[in-house]
Symmetry: D3
Subunit: 245 residues, 6 copies
């Protein structure tokens, strides 16, 4: 089974980290293919960048020429999952939803700890549309920018663990979701500090994608996610995407 | 006052229609500038096309070189408004929200009559996130594709009026919103058949944009819609957009 | 265009202030007619007074003998708008709803800052029924009584600005609505202190009423707001209202 | 124990019917005092009349000169209960809420069967604000006007039973609330036709008022329903109410 | 009228206390029969114990051989009420719901003060399913275990009053529900400290059960609570229950 | 990895069927252990039976003497999952929640098709508490009793497929969940008739349980699902369960 794991930003080192995290969660026999978008921003921390990422992920997957069995969109709180579902016949899993869905099996309420304060409403909106917000205790920002997670891992751990502790004690969360693809690898230490289960969205998404494939289930094509109707496009896709084999 | 009214598809005749509708609603002294996206699909009827439209509208507005006072995104149920709000210091009005917001002043519940069945969930999701769905009685599809609205206006009127009547009698709507930028001009006849107020989103958006400008109000920059942080972009914007003056 | 702007209390100086605020927001050619209720309380700060205001506003408008194009009910959180909609064929705009509706175009969440703690539930209930509470972050009391707003403007500004700041920092509001007709004129200074957009309900209502009139839209008469059925009334209206020309 | 049961309209025969219904439900030792409002409409079937009834009930109770232990407002879907709670130190029970609250103990979901279609939204709004709508399956109109309930009891029973049956079979209600003070007395026959429990709001309210008095419980005065602050009133109360001893 | 009041734990002294509390609230002519479950835990403070209590209460009532008119389940936040409703033709009242339903008549919002933190989600879930959570301001834990309420009444009062005060000042509750059958008797002192009405669920349930009986109302048998279908059971009921006369 | 799959009724042939369904979905190396409750009803179709099943499943798992890695409760809409989570340190997965959680990845809305009408509210309540009902289009009954699924498979398929088709066309479901452990094996034929994905809860639960084990995640013990406190139990567990090794 081959699963594409698509980063939402163009920072290759983050794609690699996400790929490693995904591979660690994959079953034997599952091939993880990490992809960096063909265009877009070096990090995604707002709506403009998120919409651009949505389109970049879609075009990047469309330009991928080998067969694959499932796609994971590895951006927390980002747009685009619904478009991928229209374009593809294989299952699509968003890590925001994968983490929340997994957290529901582990405790009465969960919280998300993310990066900058400005991304909190994006995550809240994604969870609301996904119908997964009823048991969300809070989405808390650590204050770390996405790229700072790599630059200063010690500060990242410290601020993320602090936010997680507040989520448990103040917001009554019983499970923590790490709200950024770039936080992969911090789970163990956050568990050590909070004594609650910590869900990494990339790992959770890999198991869900594998499960859907194994169960022979994929996106319903009956209405919302039917394949796009044939259309004439102007100036699209951009050369960088169209030029792919 | 200059207001950009941006179509979400690349069909120039629809941009013209939207522009005429906007101009008819504008106050003396307001200049309406209709814009066609620099790239994208000839009509937007699903998530892939909608996400692409979101990005195309943003880049089209960014490439516009003259000063302006407000922007209207003239796609019903489309993504992107939040990104425009980050990019701009002037008010941004989405016609889906403008129509719903206006309908709330006119009756106890409203319904939206749109084009294809597959676009219903997009509109429902937009209204849900906008916090405008509590008094939405239903979103009903007429079954007409966007481009068929122009091709067969008689059938469009007939199917839209039929859906509107069902919304009033079955769903208990007291106001109808015309759920497609391309339905501009049908309002009068739908009123004649249903005896309830009919709101055209483009016209509503023009009055709201003018009002915000007159009141000196624009998007809050304190958190969600703060300007994007400086970032390095790869392969973006595409040449067609970047090449604009 | 003539718009009646009806105060909900019998304090003439407040009617004048509201009238000035409305006139400042009106377009050229719009005549603002401020009205003081023919009966009622000197300020409205609770349910008894609010229900009385509802009836007083309705009878005052009914007793008004000149033609008019729209009515604004200028009480924040007060009852009565639905009754006016039944009685009249012209648009009716409540300032609580006008402010909230306008705030939705300006930020992800808004808060209302009002007078006494006891009026908070009234405003919450009005917003809930109006279907405008999903994105309301909080309704906060400044602790100032309505009539004290005029008596001690410095204290009013100080306590209102303090509550607004808490709404932004603690409740994550991005827009502030001034929750009392008597707060007109404080907007500019609250903006200066909070750096978020501040919406005055009276000004917002004027632009919405003008817009509805310009668009040819008025209350749906199909069900909820149909004209009252012919009825025999006992001891009503009271002489003070009936005696008007 | 003396309980005032206040009709919302000025039709004395309806007051008598409501009084009889209340007396039949009262415990030995409870005195039921039926009151007709000092002013208002002969029947209440809309917002204007409902707001007027709210004020009329309040002034009628204020003008009542004997001691009493509780007040029941006997209008289904009418405004005003919150104002009475401010004015009085004894418990106040609204029949809309009493019926719904009682129905919750009897089945998984309940429906309300009321008079005219136009009153449905009023009842829905009252239940929403009361926090009693989650298990409300539907509010259905029988199409009978309030005063026609007395004029044509056979038609009333027929149309009400038909609506109740639809509520049970289509809306999955398991309990029916009779949604008009004037429907008192029809319960037995509606039970016979639907085989589900039927709640009369007046009877339910009597038992709740008695219970609150017996338990020594009354309205909290800590915030929302604190006594009105001392105020100067203009032209109020009207002579008819003020003239009462 | 005979009302069974069934404790959910096997501590006889608590059954006696609940019985006294119920008897104090009962009308003349009502016989209160307190019952201790035939099996189960000495106190119920979690889901395992609560599910066991649900079954134990049902079997205990089934094993009771005398006629009775209503049943009260005297556990706060416990499971089981729906099963009793299936088994019985007489009304069933749960004290969690009785308290909340009563509190709604007394203030704008209510809070529950309960024992251990771990029981908070059980109560929240019960109120949510009962459709009584919209006006619930909070469920707060005092930190006292159930059996400690008897062992250290002074500490119980102190911690419960402290939690109640926070509910009023921080969560804006206007009414307090005592969230444990074992708190019966503390109401008066909590009122003294908070100045808000305090509802004891057992007392409230007695008046509601009496009211339903007097009104001739009982559980709807049309769907959810129809009598169980005839079934073969294995190893059930256990000897202790089956051995009862 | 060993996963216990516990039937909720005492019909051994159903346990076998569930076991086969689970084994078919399991990964190589996963051992499925199907268990029949030590006591209880031959089928579970209501609240009394469901509460009994909750307790029986818990005691059956407690009496199981071998080590295991996860538990699946294989009853659709049944009580008890929260109690198992308290008792165990390994993950617990309920098939109602597993099916819904899986369906969310496959379409915009899902419906559940279950057995008897009387079980619909149980399933609705379970989904509501689980926070998985926002995107649930409907729960529809096929009218088949649980044991009739085995007795008349042709009728079962026909009625279930008919209900599924109505869910897709009338309720706008895009995915169907088979709402009974005994429906395992019908998925393929329902897919053939509806052209939408069909989720079997047992199969879904197996993949989720495996995933949680692989990810090293289990129930949070921080609050709601902490191990039960040490307690004295009376007459419990019953001999049949206690006698197990």
């Amino acid at each position: 089974m081959r699963i594409l794991v698509v980063n939402v930003n163009t920072t290759a080192s983050m794609t690699e980290g996400i790929g490693r995290q995904a591979a660690a969660a994959a079953s034997p026999g599952t091939e993880i293919v990490p992809l960096t978008p063909l265009f877009g921003a070096e990090s995604v921390e707002g709506n403009y960048e998120s919409y651009l990422a949505a389109v970049a992920v879609m075009e990047t997957v469309r330009a991928y020429s080998e067969p694959f069995d499932a796609v994971i969109q590895a951006g927390y709180g980002e747009h685009g999952r619904e478009g991928l579902q229209e374009l593809l016949d294989v299952p699509v899993v968003d890590i925001t939803e994968a983490a929340a869905s997994t957290a529901l099996f582990l405790g009465h309420k969960y919280s998300v700890v993310t990066t900058l304060d400005r991304t909190v409403p994006l995550i809240e909106d994604r969870l609301k549309l996904a119908g997964l917000s009823d048991r969300c205790a809070s989405v808390r920002a650590s204050g770390m920018a996405v790229l700072d997670l790599e630059r200063d891992p010690a500060a990242a751990l410290r601020t993320i663990a602090a936010a997680a502790e507040l989520a448990v004690t103040e917001d009554r969360a019983e499970v923590i979701c790490l709200g950024c693809g770039g936080m992969a690898g911090l789970a163990e230490e956050v568990v050590a500090r909070t004594a609650v289960p910590v869900v990494d969205g990339v790992a959770a998404a890999v198991t869900i994608a594998e499960s859907l494939v194994r169960l022979g289930l994929t996106t319903s094509k009956v209405r919302t996610f039917a394949a796009p109707r044939p259309k004439t496009f102007t100036n699209w896709p951009p050369r960088v995407a169209a030029a792919r084999p």
